[in-house]
Amino acid sequence: MPSADWRYRAGDNQKKGHAIKRLIFYINLLRAYLSNSIKSRLAYREDFLSGFVAGLMMQLIGVLFVFSLFVRVPHLMGWHREEIFFIFGFSQVSLGLFFTFFSNLLELSDKYIIEGNFDRILLRPLDSFFQLVTERIYWEESSTIIVGLSMMSYALSRLGLALGPAEYLSLAGLVLSACAIYLAIFTILVSLTFWFNDRGSVVSVMLMLEGFSRYPVTIYNRTVRLVLTFIIPYAFTAFFPSMLILGRESYRLYVWLTPAVAAVSLMAALAVWRAGTRAYQSTGS
């Protein structure tokens, strides 16, 4: 018994040596999860369709609102109407990706901690974050991605910009980085529920604040701008990366800061998550 605490430490180190094998294991598992998720979605086609159509309508109303707003405003503080549409579309694509693949994260408080489902997650020999995220994929949220993509391509054609393969590839990388930033922000916020019995109020405030990311940050005052850049990096989820295409020289640096911000914030988020799972106090029986 006294030796039990450290006897198996050697085994832990051995595991690190198999990092690549482990990665392949997770990728294979992810494929199995995805195929199951698609199968179960197909089983509930009607649910999927109604969710998808409802989401699409909501998005279209939002877009219609923005369009009608700008009918008489071809320019806003130095920004072309179409440029704003592009930024707006970019933010919708990265947000849509986040909602489609990571929405389950937002269920942590109610469905996992309060209902006690987190116990089950801790009983499987898998990373807890991986399990939570993959347990449900919200395919119907993909409507947001589609609307965002349409807005981006409409803006591009109106602006008369033709992109080459390299630009498309970079754009895809930036969209993924932006999605990772959303993921990091919301991971940190939901992790707080491990310590506090918050039922998602912070999360909903943050979801509302997300509206700021849809417009050029230069239209806001200095304080808001600083907050959106350095504290809650929403500016990196659409505005800065869009500058790759909208090409304002002064933002070149910020464009390529986007993946770095994504990487750093994601690492910080996972550290907070780990600390949170250690602080987890399961509910009573």
Binding site: A4, Y8, F25, S40, L123, G284
Partner: protein, 334 residues
């Protein structure tokens, strides 16, 4: 060498008492009065490989908290815990691979996919070789009657069906230790019996160590030789179920049917010298209860048969519920 060891294991939760009313809520914001709840308060036991142990206690006694520490869900406040030499919360991955867990109230399976798909996913997660998987699946199909259930989505299963699938799922990787938390809750008698038979068979065939918590003490009677009893976070009994029953001075009861009506006085006269209590109103049926050590069944039966005309009689052992209640009562009084 024990397979599960707990030494001075404790889990304290810090909660704060909410004050009532609006003003109370304001006060809570500024100044919280914390108090420590000792859910598990210094529990020690050792379980040998292949044992089936019943872990019992009232609601809030600390059963679930103990199980959660043994399974690695909760980090103990103090004390040691080891399962096959692993510390559950520190070596979570390795530890959960060597245990199976079934919670009666909650499924471990994915809600939306068919049972067989869920089992296949678990096969991947636990890296069970294909041949082993097929062999075990076949066995579970036979013993638990899973055959027709495999293609049904988990959410459409009845409670009994789901429990059988959960049992199969928890044993796919053939864990040496199985934790069952209320495995028969809400099940009908037939399913209960098949679940118990299955657990017994797994224990016999694979030498699986089983820790069982339950409200239904008949589960314990059917499955466990040994019980550990906990109350208010402390261990109050650890030993054989049989000696617990003998130790408890719980009443045994003899139910007798007479051919002719017998009144209380007549019966008392017949049993002159035996310290018994008479219950039930007669006149044809009487319940005679007596305590171990003060009177014995053969003597009473002998007296009745020789002095009255008995049609039928039945000896009831003390029910385990009564035994448990008695142990609690003694513990709280002392």
């Amino acid at each position: 060498m024990p397979i599960i060891e707990a030494a001075n294991l404790a889990k304290h939760f810090r909660t704060f008492r909410r004050r009532s009313g609006l003003w109370g809520s304001f006060k809570d914001l500024v100044n919280r009065k914390y108090e420590t709840v000792r859910a598990v308060d210094g529990v020690s036991f050792a379980i040998e490989p292949g044992e089936m142990v019943g872990y019992i206690g009232a609601n809030g006694a600390g059963k679930s908290t103990t199980i959660k520490m043994l399974t690695g869900i909760l980090v103990p406040t103090s004390g040691r815990v080891a399962v096959r030499g692993l510390v559950p919360h520190r070596q979570r991955y390795q530890h959960v691979k060597q245990i199976g867990v079934v919670f009666g109230q909650r499924t471990q399976l994915w809600w939306d996919i068919a049972v067989i798909e869920a089992l296949r996913l678990l096969q991947r997660i636990y890296e069970v070789p294909k041949a082993d998987f097929e062999a075990r699946l076949k066995k579970f199909e036979e013993v638990l009657g899973l055959g027709d259930l495999l293609n049904i989505p988990v959410r459409k299963l009845s409670l009994g069906q789901r429990m059988r699938c959960d049992l199969a799922a928890s044993l796919l990787h053939n864990p040496p230790v199985l934790f069952l938390d209320e495995p028969t809750i809400g099940l009908d008698i037939a399913v209960k019996a098949s679940v118990r038979d299955f657990i017994r068979e797994i224990n016999r065939e694979y030498g699986t160590t089983v820790i069982l918590t339950t409200h239904d003490l008949s589960d314990i009677e059917r499955l466990c030789r040994r019980v550990i009893m906990i109350d208010r976070g402390r261990l109050i009994y650890d030993g054989e179920l049989k000696s617990l029953k003998e130790q408890a001075v719980g009443a045994r009861r003899l139910v007798v049917d007479f051919v002719l009506p017998v009144d209380r006085a007549g019966l008392q006269r017949a049993l002159e010298g035996c310290p018994v209590e008479l219950e039930g109103g007669g006149p044809f049926r009487w319940e005679i209860s007596f305590r171990r050590g003060q009177a014995n069944a053969p003597e009473i039966i002998g007296l009745l048969m020789s002095r009255l005309e008995v049609r039928d009689l039945e000896l009831e052992e003390p029910r385990i519920e009564e035994v448990v209640r008695e142990v609690y009562r003694r513990e709280r009084a002392g």
